[in-house]
């Protein structure tokens, strides 16, 4: 209810401010034919901004402090002897009773004298503080309005001031992206650093055993946090994914780009790109309930022991997920190779496939390598498919038919449901996250650099 009152007041005030700025500007312009620097709507906007900003500042301050102040006020209304007799739960109940009295909802049970008084006082206090806040916001807003309105004259560069405000707002928007990166780096580094106060970084980066103990099973032993089994699993699954995605994605791109009729391309390309839009949880489910059992049965049929959840299952499905990524990037890159190169090869009597293999692909190679690196970085950071289908067995082994675990799976396992960040059990997630972030960052930077250089080469 209060929110609507405030919003309504604010809108009325803003409309008023705009109107006043605008009409004063009109008044300047019409009678004596003065050359006014800015147009009326800029004067209006400027006055509105001068009104809005102080009012919003007041509201923000109030929103920030009012819960604390109210809390303090209610506590001050409870007699000291009652207060000392209450524990935390009792205090909360007591405060809720006073609030209910103040709001007129009422309470059950016997009404103690101080409660009645406290309720009435609180109601008065809330009304008063609300009125003061509204008055302060409106008053400051109106002050801003009057100030800005006084400043309006023919020479005021209102448009420039409004534009300066807009450009500062835009800069603030761009700052968010930077802050995000800083936030990622800061949170990963500080929490990982805390983890390394429990576990030696050498043991983490070169340890071959991953066996974290959960805090509930005993405080003394923190378990072992060796990265290598997870890293091996991550790399194995990524390698399998690339083995699936690269040939299929690249050949599909080549066929669509070089051979397929325009109509075929128009139909097939979006269908393949559908694969890129499917959420990874869907792939994970598909891997778990369809691909895994199929591979297991297939293994049994040919006498191989394939686990239903294994590096192979996860890798295969992840490869499917990456196909459209590779094919659309490769398609873009093939489009950038100049047509004259192809013509040169055709003119010599090369067949189409010879042209593609000997001329087009070598020319496009840097760009395609960049695309592959981006795809690898994707595979390494992919989470849901491996959480569901890789088998969660953090053991250092080389057989892709057995369950493995990955960095991302362990992050999920270690951090899910636990946000105290008190022990190495949960802090290790940040060390893993940092490792993952650095790996993908390096891949991305190299890849983006290569792709950029490639584009410049043919521009």
């Amino acid at each position: 209810m209060n929110t609507f009152i405030i919003a309504g007041l604010l809108i009325v005030l803003l409309g008023l401010a705009y109107q006043m700025g605008w009409s004063k500007s009109r008044a300047l312009a019409t009678p004596n034919g003065l050359r006014v620097h800015s147009r009326g709507q800029y004067h209006g906007t400027l006055v509105a901004l001068w009104t809005l900003i102080p009012a919003v500042l007041v509201l923000a301050v109030w929103a920030f402090f009012s819960p604390g102040v109210t809390h303090w006020y209610i506590v001050s209304q409870i007699p000291t002897d009652v207060l000392t007799s209450l524990d935390q739960v009792g205090l909360n109940q007591q405060m809720q009773r006073i609030r209910d009295l103040a709001s007129g909802f009422g309470v059950t049970g016997e009404l103690r004298p101080f409660e009645q008084a406290a309720g009435e006082n609180l109601a008065r206090f809330q009304l008063l503080s609300f009125l003061i806040m509204v008055a302060a916001a409106a008053g400051l807003g109106i002050l801003g309005l009057l100030f800005a309105r006084r400043r309006i004259n023919a020479r005021l560069r209102a448009r420039n001031e409004v534009e300066r405000f807009i450009s500062w707002a835009l800069i603030a928007c761009s700052a968010v992206a930077i802050l995000t990166t800083l936030g990622i780096v800061a949170s990963l580094v500080t929490e990982a650093f805390r983890f390394f106060t429990y576990v030696n970084p050498l043991d983490f980066f070169f340890g071959t055993v991953w066996a974290p103990r959960f805090s509930s099973t005993g405080a003394g032993d923190a378990g072992q946090y060796g990265l290598l089994p997870l890293l091996a699993g991550t790399l194995m699954i990524s390698a399998i994914a690339m083995l699936v995605a690269v040939p299929v994605g690249l050949m599909a791109a080549i066929y669509l780009n070089q051979y397929a009729h325009a109509n075929v391309r128009r139909v097939v390309k979006p269908i393949i790109e559908v694969l890129a839009g499917i959420p990874t949880i869907v792939y994970g489910f598909f891997a778990l309930v369809t691909v895994g059992p199929f591979l297991r049965d297939f293994g049994t049929a040919v006498g191989l022991n394939i686990s239903a959840t294994s590096a192979l299952t996860a890798g295969l499905v992840m490869g499917v997920m990456i196909i459209p990524f590779i094919s659309s990037l490769s398609d873009d890159i093939l489009n950038q190779v100049p047509r004259t190169l192809r013509d040169g090869a055709y003119g010599l009597g090369a067949t189409q496939s010879e042209t593609i293999r000997n001329v087009l692909l070598p020319a496009a190679l840097p760009g395609i390598v960049g695309a592959f690196l981006l795809a690898v970085s994707r595979a390494i950071g992919e989470t849901m498919i491996v959480v569901l289908a890789a088998g969660n067995a953090p053991i250092l082994r080389g057989n892709p038919l057995e369950p493995v675990s990955t960095i991302t799976v362990s992050i999920v396992n270690q951090l899910t449901g636990d946000t105290d960040f008190t022990g190495p059990q949960s802090l290790v997630a940040f060390a893993l996250g940092l490792t993952l972030f650095i790996m993908t960052l390096c891949l991305n930077i190299v890849a983006l650099y290569i792709v950029r250089r490639f584009r410049e080469q043919y521009e």
Binding site: G104, T108, R159, E163, L170, S174, A175, A177, T180, G183, I184, S187, L188, T190, P247, V248, G249, M251, A252, Y255, A260, V268, I271, I272, L275, G277, I278, P279, T280, I281, V282, Y283, G284, F286, L288, V289, T290, V320, I323, T351, Q352, S353, I356, S377, G381, E382, T383, M384, V387, T408, I411, V412, T416, G417, T419, F421, F430, F437, I445, L448
Partner: protein, 451 residues
């Protein structure tokens, strides 16, 4: 002629000809591999969709049991519901009402359900109460009780009530359970199975569209009543936050970087930074959310607010990059024309350039939102995988999201029942994403035609 025998055209042509069949074979092979790759990719799409559809479609129908429930005063010994007396405070009335409801809840409503079931069964059918009650879902007694609480006048009357059949009953009716298995391997006892078959024949059990999938919240004790409403609302709140925050921030920073920022090392750095941010694994954003939003800012755990903020940060680079590309594509002629008319740079951007790029920005936004909608991993790290059996009314209440609900359901032990249900949830998610993408494509073509 200074050359060797090669200059003889005849020999040359002979050599070219000798290699032709091999080269054409190579050409055909290469082409074949291309077609094979296309077929594989299309095959994967087809396989994925048919698999999800095949598993998910049955879950959209569910077995209902229509019973004549008698609210027998013999079974339901309860005071009359309290009335709001004049002069009574709201708090006192609520206390009285709660007391009455507690009293109602203490009654054994299973007896009522059991009586109704027995009434529907053929006379003299031998089955014990425990077995009988496995036919309806375990929330049946709550449903009947809620009816009574809503309308206390039902006491002593009989009402027709549609109840959900239990997950096991549903599986049995749909033939998901092998009927030849022995008693020890069956979830349902032999009399219960027989009675279900009778019910199915006499029309007590019917198949209907599973509205409960959309109108119920998640449930563990009553699997057949588990629905997506809570997850849908959670996703709705998060998408609302993403749209409110990511679109203005993304478009704003794209405008700044593309139109206003001086070309400096700093701008280059920001550009590299945004490109990299777009490729940072989503789970890293989850870690950021856990450390910054939950641990430092103390935002509520499992709430759409934190989830929405994480997804906003994740979507931001997508929107920035797409908007910048759109801005880059605006012809310099338009800019020069605007500037030549005496428009300031801000006016040029907001009056002339931005309207032209509106379709692309809209498309990018929708695609970004669709991507955020399907994201699971970062939400797991900020506690959105908690079991929540309520509909979040505000973005700071506990909630889950559609993809996370899929994750939770696929892990349910009752595989036989939850695999179709998970597939159905996936169908709902995919339907949303396809709709969003279709809207994006449609709007784009509409707006571009108009422009």
């Amino acid at each position: 002629m200074t050359d060797t025998s090669l200059d003889s055209a005849a020999i040359r042509r002979q050599r070219v000809r000798a290699g032709l069949s091999r080269r054409h074979l190579g050409e055909r092979l290469f082409r074949f591999f291309g077609i094979l790759a296309i077929c594989l990719a299309l095959g994967f799409v087809a396989l994925l969709f048919t698999d999800v559809l095949r598993k998910g479609i049955p879950a959209f129908t569910q077995s209902n049991i229509r019973l004549e429930v008698a609210f027998d005063p013999e079974l339901l010994k309860v005071d009359p519901a309290p009335e709001h007396a004049p002069g009574q405070s709201d708090a006192d009335f609520r206390a009285a009402r709660l007391g009455w409801e507690r009293q109602v809840a203490m009654l054994n409503w299973n007896n009522v359900v059991e009586a109704a079931l027995r009434n529907a069964a053929p006379a003299g059918f031998e089955i014990d109460s425990r077995q009988l009650l496995t036919i309806t879902e375990s929330d049946a007694r709550h449903r009947v009780r809620e009816l009574f609480v809503a309308n206390p006048a039902l006491l002593g009357q009989t009402a027709q009530v549609d109840l959900l059949a239990s997950a096991n009953t549903d599986n049995w009716v749909k033939g998901n359970i092998n009927r030849d298995l022995g008693d020890s391997q069956q979830q349902l006892s032999a009399p219960a199975r027989a009675l279900i078959d009778i019910f199915e024949e006499n029309g007590t059990i019917t198949q209907g569209f599973a509205w409960s999938l959309f109108t119920n919240v998640d449930s563990r004790s009553a699997p057949a009543s588990a629905g997506l409403l809570g997850a849908l609302m959670g996703t709705f709140w998060m998408m609302l936050i993403v749209i409110i925050l990511a679109v203005p921030l993304g478009v704003g920073s794209a405008i700044y970087l593309e139109e206003f920022a001086p070309k400096s090392r700093l701008t280059d750095l920001i550009e590299v930074n945004i490109n990299n941010l777009a490729a940072v694994p989503s789970i890293v954003f989850g870690l950021l959310g856990a450390a910054v939003f939950i641990n430092w800012f103390r935002l509520p755990l499992s709430a759409p607010l934190a989830g929405g903020l994480v997804l906003t940060l994740m979507t931001l680079p997508t929107i920035i990059i797409a908007t910048r590309a759109a801005l880059k594509g605006v012809s310099p002629a338009l800019r020069q024309a605007a500037l030549g008319m005496g428009a300031s740079k801000t006016q040029m951007v907001f009056h002339h350039v931005l309207p032209v790029t509106f379709p692309s920005i809209l498309t990018a936004t929708i695609i970004g939102v669709a991507q955020a909608m399907g994201e699971t991993a970062p939400l797991l790290l900020i506690g959105m995988n908690a079991f929540v059996a309520s509909v979040p009314g505000t973005p700071i209440e506990q909630a889950t999201a559609l993809p996370v609900q899929i994750y939770l359901w696929q892990g349910n032990e009752n595989r036989n029942f939850f695999e179709p249900r998970t597939s159905a949830a996936i169908m709902v998610l995919l339907a949303f994403m396809i709709t969003l993408n279709a809207i994006a494509i449609f709007l784009r073509s509409r707006l571009e035609k108009r422009a």
